[in-house]
Structures are given as structure tokens and as C-alpha cells.
């Protein structure tokens, strides 16, 4: 029951996002061809507007857009006459997804490890060192870190390729740069959560049973401490998605983030709308899945519509 309700809330959210995006994009005075009006004859402009249904009333355009969305057609790109938004996303998604997944994996593994170490060595030097690293990670934005990585790791020490896309080596530096902020945030979450868990009675029971520290921490501590961290995966996704805007720009990676930023400067409205909607779908679906998953991971959270 909860799942069904949550599912419809998700659909409602998506519909609101689509509508808002559509309205915001059509608040702009003029249309994508306004700038060309001096060089192109009026009759041709009329034809071009008709081609993209820009001469119809707003409501009709909206209905058309929704109708196309239902068959997953995000419309044509105005800037590049030969490709449509679907092709752009299909082309840009693999690099972006690879970067995103790699950086999330790095952030999760390193963040959880760092946070756990800090909690285990609570109020000892290792704790301070880990938390100092974490606060530095939160303070230094990825777009400052990335040029430094390029300068040192790629140019001076020649460890990795400088930029662009191709082999797996190309993905390492951008993934690292992208993972630092979420890593630091996860480490801090994990530390607090682990400290909470380590005070619980079942930990004392586990220790009293004579289990090794290792198995107490991994089997009893970590599994419970991870539950609050799960709730951070949604914002983590959002932060990685927006992070790709700058990272793909700095490393010249042909991903969706780069297409999105380019489309803003080209005023390519269908592409801006399409990518925004695409990102929102990813995020909203992820939030939905996380919500379900941690109700499954933690049986104490009831799958009911009430609660929260």
C-alpha cells in the first residue's frame, strides 16, 4: 500500500517538475530564433517556428510536449539540426554515468571507512585526522581541486591523461575530483551514526560473547550504522549530478553535464528542458528506490503510509 502511494507521489512530483520546467522555459521573451531574425527572411522564420510548433498557443505546445514525453520523445535540438535530445542524452549518458557511478563508489567506500575509523578511535589522533580530512574535503570545491589534480597528477607527474575521454585512465582524475565532497559528507555522517551504534546494548552483548573487534564492528556495528547513511544517498546523487557540470567542463568530457551547460549558453531550450527532466527522473526514481530499500534493509521501519 505504501509502495503504491509512494509511486503515485513520485509520478505527481515528476509531472510538477515537467510542468514547472516547461513554464519557466516559456517565460523567456522571444523564441530561440529571435536572434536570427535579422539574417533570415520572415517567411523562413515562420516556417522554422512552425517546424518546432512555436507558432501554436502555449497550451497546445504543452499538450504536445506531454504527449511526446509519454513516448519518451524529448524533442529536437535547435542548435544541432541533425540530432534530437534523445540522441544527445544517449550519447552523453554513458560517460556521465560511468563517472557518477565510479565517484559514488569511491565516496561510499572511502567515506564509510574514514567515518568508521574516526568513530572507533573516538577522541584519539586518528579521529582528529579523519575529521580534519573530512572538513577539508567539504571546504575545497571540486572545481578548485580538479585543476590542481590536472596540474600535478597529470602534467607534472604524468600519472594520468590530462583531459578528454577514451581509456579508463581518463576516468580516474574526474571521478576522484567528483567524489571528494560526498566522501567527506559521508565520513561525517558515518562517524556520528557509528558512535551512536557503538553505545547500543547489542554491541556490548556482542563484545561480551567474545566476538573479535573486527566482527563486532563489521557485522553488528556497520550494518546498523549504515541505515542513516542510506538516507544521504539521494542528496549524494544530486551532488554528483551537478558536480558533473563543472567536472565535464574542466576535463572536456562529452557527457550530459557538458551538453547541458553548452545548451544553456546556446539557448537551446529543448535540450535544456530535456536534460533537466532527464536528471529529475533519475533523481526522483533514485529517491523512490532508496526509500523502498531502507524499509527493506531495516525491518523496524514499517512499510505503512503513516509514519516518517
Amino acid at each position: 500500500m505504501y509502495i503504491v502511494k509512494r509511486f503515485f507521489t513520485m509520478l505527481l512530483t515528476l509531472w510538477i517538475i515537467v510542468t514547472l520546467t516547461f513554464l519557466i522555459m516559456h517565460m523567456i521573451p522571444g523564441d530561440p530564433f529571435s536572434n536570427d531574425s535579422k539574417t533570415i527572411p520572415e517567411a523562413v522564420l515562420q516556417n522554422m517556428r512552425a517546424r518546432y510548433h512555436l507558432d501554436e498557443p502555449l497550451a497546445v505546445q504543452y499538450a504536445l510536449y506531454l504527449k511526446n514525453l509519454l513516448v519518451l520523445d524529448l524533442g529536437p535540438s535547435i542548435q544541432s539540426k541533425t540530432t534530437d535530445v534523445n540522441t544527445l542524452i544517449a550519447r552523453g549518458f554513458p560517460p556521465s554515468a560511468l563517472l557518477g557511478i565510479q565517484s559514488i563508489v569511491i565516496a561510499l567506500i572511502a567515506g564509510i571507512a574514514l567515518g568508521t575509523v574516526a568513530a572507533l578511535f573516538h577522541k584519539r589522533p586518528l579521529d582528529y585526522i579523519s575529521m580534519f580530512i573530512a572538513i577539508i574535503g567539504i571546504s575545497v570545491p571540486s572545481f578548485i581541486l580538479a585543476p590542481l589534480l590536472i596540474k600535478y597528477a597529470a602534467v607534472q607527474w604524468r600519472l594520468f591523461p590530462v583531459a578528454s575521454w577514451g581509456t579508463w585512465q581518463h576516468t580516474i582524475l574526474p571521478s576522484l575530483a567528483l567524489s571528494v565532497t560526498p566522501l567527506a559528507v559521508i565520513a561525517r555522517f558515518m562517524r556520528t551514526s557509528m558512535l551512536d551504534v557503538l553505545q547500543q546494548e547489542y554491541i556490548r552483548t556482542a563484545e561480551a560473547k567474545g566476538l573479535s573487534t573486527w566482527s563486532v564492528v563489521i557485522r553488528h556495528g556497520m550494518r546498523n550504522a549504515l541505515i542513516p547513511v542510506l538516507s544521504f544517498i539521494g542528496p549524494l546523487f544530486a551532488s554528483v549530478i551537478t558536480g558533473t557540470f563543472v567536472i565535464e567542463k574542466i576535463f572536456a568530457i562529452p557527457g550530459i553535464g557538458k551538453y547541458f551547460v553548452d545548451s544553456i549558453f546556446n539557448r537551446d531550450y529543448p535540450v535544456i528542458m530535456g536534460t533537466t527532466i532527464f536528471y529529475s527522473v533519475i533523481l526522483v526514481v533514485t529517491l523512490f528506490l532508496i526509500d523502498l530499500s531502507y524499509r527493506i534493509v531495516d525491518p523496524r521501519i514499517k512499510l505503512s503510509s503513516k509514519g516518517d
Binding site: 570545491p141 572545481f143 551537478t242
Partner: protein, 318 residues
């Protein structure tokens, strides 16, 4: 006769009066750490937030007076003095248009702080208002619950859209600039604050003093402003110390992309972006100073906020 004057228990040699000093000694005041370790810990925690506060004061002071200390304006160009490294004349060097980096860095920091504080102030008002209404109305009859769930639904939807995407969309529609930036940041920024305030109000509402005030016929406004908000102040302030750096980050992020503050006004994000092309040719100061300033500002707020959080939350000071 004897039995009435002496208590059989106190006269019995097997019983002795309890030693009160031993009773209080049995109470565990803190976990079993040596005193010096506890002290180092609290000093460290304190020192970090103290360091943050100190840094903040220095940054704010220099953002205010920094550009006035040098005889160059942040936007005045000098084509004879382009790309100079830091020197006695130009403390932070100059950029490719011969503009003084010291003046530009501090006026960029000024813009960052202005945006951070203004956006946070708007977030504070909107967040406390909306979160407070939602939290206070919840459980107050059918209309109250409806208001709460409507507001929560709006918050939920706004929360599930990446806020930078919303800001970018708005920046595409409106003319880029300082005001647009503040509006765009405020439209989404209050959501986090509203969630926190609502949760806190829901909790505080259960307290006995609120019940007592209600039974004594205190007005809603007085309960909210005299009882609920002052008690939620701690968590609101802590949240604020994290809202400000996040607004500052968003400003530099968007300016870095070219969507935020437009040239010739200096912004740390734009300066960092301008340095991308030249950092490999050895002009390290072009990235270093604006990057350091963004990071230091974020560090100062986060460190200070951490300390505050500990101070307001006794649980985290184990």
C-alpha cells in the same frame, strides 16, 4: 523502655549509616577517559570552532577594507602590467587584463559573503515561517493537518529536484546578476530550514510548558514567539551556519560555469574559471588566491558551525 529510645536498626552493629561522599563518588560523570584527554578533546573542539570564528572575522574584515588598501580598483585594467606574479606592488599578482588580484579577490569575497548572508537571511525568514506554520498546524484538527501536509508535499517536491538545476533554470530565464542570484538561491534554499524547524516544533509542542501555556489561554502567536521559537533557536542557528557556506558555494559554482556574477564585477568563481587556461603555464596565483579564499570561507563557516552544533547538542559531546 530501652526499645522506644533507640532504633533497632541503628543500634544493630551490623548496620552503619551510609557515607554520603561515597554515594556521589559512585556517579559516573563522564566516560572513562583520563582528564587530560577530555581536556585536549574539548580544547580541540573548541579550538576548531574558535579558529573558524577567527578566520571569519579576518575574512569579513578584509572583504570590507581589503580593496581599499591598494591603489587599484578591482576592475581597472592596465595592459602594461598583465600576468604579473605576486610582488610588493601587486600582493596577489595581476590577471591577463592587468587587474590587481588582491583587489579583485577581496571584492569577490565581499560579493560571496553578501550573497551568503542575504540568501541565508531570506532562507531563515521563509524557512522558519513555513516550517513553523507546518509544525504548529500539524495535529490541530482537520484543517491544521491539511495545511501541514500541503506544505510538506511542496517541501518534498522541491527537495527532490536538484536545487542547482532549479537555480540554473531561473538564471537562464532572468538576467544574470547579483539580484537574480539571490532570488534564485532563496527560492529553493528555505526548504532545508523549513524541514528542520518543522521537526523541532513538532517535538517542542509535546513539552509540558506548551501544554500549560495553552491551558492558561495563551494566544497562538505568543506560544509561537515566546515558547516555541526561542527553544528552537539553537538548531536554527546551527542550520544557518551551514546554509551560508552552501549559498557561497552555489554562487562560486554558478559563476564558475559563467551563469552567475558577470564580468567586470569580480567573483571568486569567475576568477577560478578564468585561471583554467593559464594554470599550466605557471601562473599559479590566478587559481590559488580565489580558490584559497573560497575554501577558507567554507572551512571557517563549517568549523564554526561544527563547534556550535556541539555546544547546542550535549549528546554529541560524549
Amino acid at each position: 523502655m530501652k526499645a522506644t529510645t533507640t532504633d533497632p536498626i541503628t543500634s544493630d552493629p551490623r548496620f552503619t549509616p551510609a557515607d554520603r561522599s561515597r554515594l556521589s563518588a559512585n556517579r559516573i560523570a563522564s566516560p572513562g577517559l583520563p582528564l587530560w584527554k577530555q581536556r585536549t578533546y574539548s580544547i580541540f573542539r573548541h579550538r576548531l570552532s574558535l579558529l573558524g570564528l577567527l578566520l571569519l572575522v579576518v575574512i569579513i574584515a578584509l572583504a570590507l577594507v581589503g580593496p581599499l588598501l591598494v591603489p587599484y580598483s578591482p576592475s581597472s585594467q592596465s595592459l602594461l602590467k598583465t600576468n604579473l606574479p605576486p610582488s610588493a606592488d601587486h600582493w596577489f599578482g595581476t590577471d591577463d587584463l592587468g587587474r590587481d588580484m588582491w583587489a579583485r579577490t577581496w571584492s569577490g569575497a565581499r560579493i560571496s559573503l553578501l550573497i551568503g548572508f542575504t540568501a541565508a537571511a531570506i532562507d531563515l525568514v521563509l524557512g522558519v515561517l513555513i516550517g513553523g506554520i507546518a509544525g504548529y498546524c500539524a495535529g490541530k484538527g482537520r484543517t491544521g493537518d491539511r495545511i501541514d501536509s500541503l506544505l510538506m508535499r511542496i517541501i518534498e517536491i522541491l527537495y527532490s529536484i536538484p536545487y542547482l538545476l532549479v537555480i540554473i533554470l531561473l538564471l537562464v530565464v532572468m538576467k544574470p546578476g547579483l539580484l537574480t542570484m539571490i532570488i534564485a538561491l532563496s527560492i529553493t534554499g528555505w526548504v532545508g530550514m523549513a524541514r528542520v524547524v518543522r521537526g523541532q516544533i513538532l517535538q517542542l509542542k509535546q513539552q509540558e510548558y506548551v501544554l500549560a501555556a495553552q491551558k492558561l489561554g495563551t494566544s497562538h502567536a505568543k506560544i509561537i514567539f515566546r515558547h516555541l521559537l526561542p527553544n528552537a533557536a539553537g538548531i536554527i542557528i546551527v542550520n544557518l551556519t551551514f546554509t551560508i557556506p552552501s549559498a557561497i558555494f552555489s554562487e562560486s559554482f554558478l559563476s564558475f560555469l559563467g551563469l552567475g556574477i558577470q564580468s567586470p564585477i569580480a567573483s571568486l568563481g569567475t576568477m577560478a574559471n578564468d585561471s583554467l587556461g593559464v594554470i599550466l603555464s605557471g601562473q599559479w596565483w590566478r587559481l590559488f588566491f580565489p580558490g584559497l579564499m573560497i575554501s577558507l570561507t567554507m572551512f571557517a563557516f563549517n568549523a564554526f558551525g561544527d563547534g556550535l552544533q556541539d555546544a547546542f547538542d550535549p549528546r554529541s559531546n560524549r
